[in-house]
Symmetry: C2
Subunit: 162 residues, 2 copies
Amino acid sequence: MFVLGIDPGLTTTGYGVVGRFPALKPVAAGVIRTRVEDTIAMRLRDLYDSLLSLIQEHQPEVMAIEQVFTNVNRQTAIAVGRAAGVAILAAAQSGIAVFEYTPTAVKSAVTGDGAAGKQAVQTMVARRLNLKAAPQPADAADALAVAICHLQSLQIPAGVLR
Amino acid sequence: MFVLGIDPGLTTTGYGVVGRFPALKPVAAGVIRTRVEDTIAMRLRDLYDSLLSLIQEHQPEVMAIEQVFTNVNRQTAIAVGRAAGVAILAAAQSGIAVFEYTPTAVKSAVTGDGAAGKQAVQTMVARRLNLKAAPQPADAADALAVAICHLQSLQIPAGVLR
């Protein structure tokens, strides 16, 4: 069971692939960046192409995506919404299910505290995946956290994204 | 010169194709609906497929898309952002440029009044396109308004969506 965690963004989208054997194992983590000097259309296309490549390479069964933050400004929410739309589309076209988790659910799943800080999440991601340190940059670690959240929530009822 | 106007939404996306010869001429107008009982992933995929078909059928040179409304709630903004992301992606992959206009710019271009009501916009869309009445439903007429806005703004400097 492989899960592709996604922390969506127009400029930087974090991704992290985690497997369960049954211990959690990190398979890949990193970020997809798009060029700020390109048009939105080109950037969304580049993000989409990169995500399709990732899915093809790692063949995850599920995409777990972090929900747009509630505390960002409107312009950022729109940009993240567009990036998330393209990510969800890439999953749909690859035939993999999409689950969405709020930042609070992710923090709670990884650290046991829904109000945990960035640093606490990173420390726990490293510990849960048996790594010396959390992968850099932070968006990659955040994406791993979403994947961990999904693998953990398989034990409790969860609904597909509607 | 054909322009595909888009009024994006997850449940209902309005579209309208307008040509200029040099008089404005409506070529097609309607709505793409997705099923509320489907997952978000399926709905975004259906929207994307329908948009690609529309672009293939009408071969517009440009997509003109209405910006997410500023006065909707956060959940709606996210849903519209996702739909817009998928629409912009469809344009990018078809090699057509994307321009974005605020609701105020669209109303102003079509009626001369940036604060015009829905009914005034519809009446003016019908008049500008030499139609007896504005196409139904309203989202189709709104999409035609965005296309008209773009064709009109070609006379003034406009930037591609960044």
